[in-house]
Amino acid sequence: MNARRSSFPLTFYYFALILLLYMPIALLFLFSVNTSVSLSFPIKQLTFDWYRKLFEADAVLRAARNSLFVALGSSFAATLLGTMVSILMLRYKFRGQNILVALAVLPLIVPYVVLGVALLLLFSVLQIDRSLWTVGIAHTVVALPYTLLIIASRLAGFDANLEEAAMDLGADYPTTLRRVVLPLIFPAMVSAWLTAFTVSFDEFALALFLAGTQPTFPVYLFSQLRFANRLPIMVALAVLMMIGTLTLVFLAERFRRRDV
């Protein structure tokens, strides 16, 4: 069989590329514990000062809290809408069904810069001030394709006869949804919610257009990049955020893979 044949070049290639992919990330870690302000060699001395200073920097923490707020709100909304569209897509037949599903998936392929300026236009015309809410709305739109695909692929795996059975036993449709369908797709909903959360928390291209006076964390990070002496603090926060994001991603994967 194939597996027995020597795969040394491939293995070597894989690990060389892994090394390359991790190098910038490793550098971030390194410089978040380096005493020097400028991120350059030689490394001077180990320090956790940047992490300490981080927790004294109000603006940074405010930006992180803004992102948290936006990510919580938009991921909740996107999961709710994704669940609704999933059920509509797989358990109903109606005119315009394909159009609705296509519209829900389309934000995946519309360039963010286009969607960003279009929403900027909308909010200007409606005279809605840009705020965390406008960022949250944009994030809900772009997270919906992800939540829809995650939830729909799980719902598609269940036989609709389960619902038939519930209704034969006398349950009405809302009860069937609540007692049969939602528990079945719940792990997918959690996974979708976590995915939407990480999509939003990390999102910059839309937020740059739509954040008003309250920056989300990526927007704040971007505005601080030109101040060299603030960079190590940003890197320290970025490292903490990376750990947070990775934790969420692992949780999402565990929920998605979980079998009932």
């Binding site: 550098l27 360039p111 300026v117 990480t198």
Partner: protein, 308 residues
């Protein structure tokens, strides 16, 4: 049209109520309850803004109230057509994205091949190892490249420190090459996923049959593995190409004005230059081009398989 998935697969002779009770009023009421929120949301925050942008692209200028009606004009499109540099930049962006797409796919293919056919029982772990960089903040990874390549950056200071160069190299950052390298780096793990999925779908018995019939490894690859993995390759390419055409953040961070892409001029017209009608026209051109491309891509590959 029917949905891609079977709904309520009732077999002949199964004693299930199709009308009355369970499928009656409550099911229709539930329908409106779950139909209206996504419909309203998508209409208001997705369809309406795009239509508004389309309308704005036919506006003569920025003067007057936003809601004030205007006589539609093709002025904006005419001025886009008149300025060669917009088209050139659109072409450059498309070519850049093409190059990035091809490079990312080519570099990711051996990774996917290794994971699907050579990694053995630890493939799952190796896959996660590959994906961690992709799950790391996008802005953060780009920032890391900036730190790596900057004038006072890691590479320059390291080279000076060990005495290879005396003066920092300035050509490393703020040009299109930096944008291209950064984006290839960013997309490699992502591009490996659809290829991996395609490779995993190949029935291993085909390899056995091929070697039983005397096919050399090289021929096994060119005659079996590669053709069967092509849908994944195309999928990977478009999944990289499409977001890259509209990219404006990476050029902003590592490209400088020399590395600007088409997305950057749209951003400029909506921020600094404040010429929204012209920016809308440029956006409409990009949106139309992207949609045509996706329509073409869906003919080439079955997009549904991406989400399995």
């Amino acid at each position: 049209m029917t949905s891609p998935f079977p709904s309520l697969p009732l077999k002949k002779g199964e004693g299930v109520r199709r009308s009355g009770g369970g499928w009656g009023l409550d099911r229709r009421a539930t329908f409106w309850f779950i139909y209206l929120p996504p419909l309203i949301w998508l209409s208001l925050f997705f369809v309406l803004p795009v239509l508004l942008m389309a309308a704005f692209s036919f506006r003569p200028d920025m003067r007057g109230d936003f809601l004030q009606l205007w006589t539609p004009t093709l002025d904006q499109y005419a001025s886009v057509a008149a300025v060669g540099s917009y088209w050139r930049l659109l072409g450059i962006s498309a070519l850049t994205a093409l190059g990035i797409g091809i490079s990312a796919v080519a570099l990711a293919y051996p990774l996917a091949y290794f994971l699907a056919l050579r990694a053995g029982p630890r493939a799952g772990f190796y896959l996660i190892l590959l994906l961690v960089p992709f799950w790391t903040s996008y802005l953060l990874r780009i920032m890391a490249w900036k730190i790596l390549l900057g004038t006072e950056g890691v590479l320059n200071s390291l080279l000076i420190y060990i005495g290879i160069i005396q003066e920092p190299l300035t050509a490393l950052l703020y040009n299109r090459t930096a944008v291209i390298l950064t984006l290839i780096y960013v997309w490699i793990p992502f591009a490996a996923l659809p290829i991996l999925a395609a490779l995993q779908r190949i029935d291993p018995i085909l390899f056995e049959a091929a070697s039983d019939l005397g096919a050399r490894p090289f021929h096994q690859f060119t005659r079996i593995t590669l053709p069967l993995s092509l849908p994944g390759v195309f999928a990977a390419f478009f999944m990289v190409f499409i977001p890259t055409v509209g990219e404006y953040v990476t050029p902003l961070l590592v490209g400088g004005s020399r590395g600007f892409l088409y997305g950057n001029i749209i951003q400029d017209f909506f921020t600094k230059a404040a010429n929204w009608p012209l920016g809308s026209a440029l956006s409409m051109i990009m949106l139309t081009a992207t949609l045509i491309l996706v329509a073409f891509a869906t003919r080439l590959i079955d997009l549904r398989q991406l989400f399995e």
